[in-house]
Symmetry: C2
Subunit: 408 residues, 2 copies
Amino acid sequence: MSKIAILGFGTVGSGTVEVFCKNKSNYCKNTGKNLDIKYILDIRDFPESPYADKFIKDFNVIVNDPEVTVVAELIGGKTFAYDCVKRALEAGKSVVTSNKELVATKGAELLRIAAEHNVNFFFEASVGGGIPIIRPLQQCLMSDEITSIAGILNGTTNYILTKMLKEGAEFAEVLAKAQELGYAESDPEADVGGGDACRKICILASLIFGEHIYPEDVYTEGITSITKEDAEYAANWGGVIKLIASAQKFGDCLEIVVCPCFVPVESQLSGVDDVFNAILVKGTATGEVVFYGRGAGKYPTASAVVADILNAVRNESKNIIWKEKGKESCVVDYEKQKHRFYLRANADKTKISGLFGDVSFLARQNAPESETAFITPEISREELNEKCKNMNVLGKIQIMYAFDEERT
Amino acid sequence: MSKIAILGFGTVGSGTVEVFCKNKSNYCKNTGKNLDIKYILDIRDFPESPYADKFIKDFNVIVNDPEVTVVAELIGGKTFAYDCVKRALEAGKSVVTSNKELVATKGAELLRIAAEHNVNFFFEASVGGGIPIIRPLQQCLMSDEITSIAGILNGTTNYILTKMLKEGAEFAEVLAKAQELGYAESDPEADVGGGDACRKICILASLIFGEHIYPEDVYTEGITSITKEDAEYAANWGGVIKLIASAQKFGDCLEIVVCPCFVPVESQLSGVDDVFNAILVKGTATGEVVFYGRGAGKYPTASAVVADILNAVRNESKNIIWKEKGKESCVVDYEKQKHRFYLRANADKTKISGLFGDVSFLARQNAPESETAFITPEISREELNEKCKNMNVLGKIQIMYAFDEERT
């Protein structure tokens, strides 16, 4: 007897119930257990729902019911959701969640509590929606030394950047259209500001690094200042602009960042368009592996949640373990790291060459004479900002570093 | 105490020993077990090897040693390898293998024997080299109904096709170069004839269908008749030529095939070049997911073998189960299925329109006047071959069906 409780009947919660109920007989056959959803916790009433008899409003009912072995937390946020997850784990119930904010901020603690109570805490759906990434990292790629991960982890910003590039539209108008289509929230800050991608790369980085990496330690830059002119220069350079979240190990240190990047067309990430996500993992022995798919959406995310539920029911996979953060952060100061940058400024080429040395100039049609765009040599953000102080900078975007080349 | 035996010290075998020994202390820490390679079985002598003291020539030593809990079969073929795997499983040892021929022909039987003896039989490395695909299908996507899989599963043919397209070279010269570079065997038949890809799609199809699909039931066509002219027409059509292995469920039936296809540039498979592999999986809830990486090679394959060894040591994942084949094959007669085709022939447009109805003609530079190339409407291979009887056909390639559209 394995009964499941669903917390939250929003988009992912209702999708999870639908996917589960549609395939329930298969799941029972394959796990050899009599599985069912016993409770759905939501503050709202759903009298018309076919699952109306399962709704409850008191979480204590779930915690105190010994029949419930797996709890799926699909509420979001880190206050009530955190409290529920912690209490469920302490009550000896496995928990699965799609809540990236919760995992990115409280993951180490919740994994420790799960281990102490010999239950599972799974969160495959928290990164990449329906794309299998956490379990493959944990179970397939753990034989190798994973040195870096870079991904397009936010569908909303990728949709916006794709439209800007392909239709020559401006950021504000594409954002408005994305909101109309339901791809972007009415408050789009977490998406366009990079915060959502930041939480996801923290989860992936914690996995490969074995130590909790917290969002506040990550240099994060969104896409709000990107213009269609920048996209034109990216094309001239031989690439596209993508919001890249990346983490790279250097010995005991970790370089982690979320920022828009010029991505060369040769990269497998350059062809990832619209709301799709992709994650590029590099291992010493395995080389490059890419996982691609729908990074969000009701059913893709729900199918990942249900897969976690089934894995928790089987209770055959051990939890991931990552340590809580030590006294000294392993995250290097991103603004001191050297990268190449695209810059667009009102400045003449002589001045730019004088300031930056050996740069490559870019061109676009109908550019005003006063505008110069170029790619810098390797330079830290700190130095770059210093050099830009006396320049009228119109655009500034990092070049995604080549994962094929060793960096120093 | 978990000791490991390696069978075969060829490319994958020696890579497996290297990867394992390099990371051994991590593996011991992470599994909490005192892991080591105890034996390496090979008929050859390696007196200079740093592992010289581990070599043995008698498999009985391994079977009779109770310390050995995991055997990695990296010999290949289905005679001696089959015998070893069967005996190891019967002796209560888990087995991991990269041997696609063995899994594609004996998988159901070996999985049954493993289940009977409560041990694991894992074969992540048999498909896609270092790309995690079998475990993600089994553990992440099993919550969903997987309706189709299509992949570029053979690196050698993909390298040849990429060179033909990008450099306008002929098949024979590229094959010779691939052999020189070590990308192709001196007997390239299994690669260029499609047999290798066929074994791999059989393994994936068996996984999603739950019933063993055997290579002899699969319509298989290689790339030996592809010319650079066909590649030019593919470009004119808006795509590339790839050797596609695919399996698609229709209720209780399965359509499975290996053949060169025109793949549209919009497809995630079109940009998979050189020796890389990619597998596109489509599920009802998940939508499209793509797995991309190095489908072969010493270290990528070895890292997948080692991951399987570690999973077997932990003994926490259940085996996949697929039934042995029933009396009636579920595989539909591929030559009766309707698809669209590219045809190149010495025939005039009037005759072609008369024979095929509504076709789309293609063009290429410097084509002889007598040559006509076009895309047919949906037609079965049987009908197509009948219509082609009285035509001088120069090229014939299937159009990859759109995975986004429902087919009837």
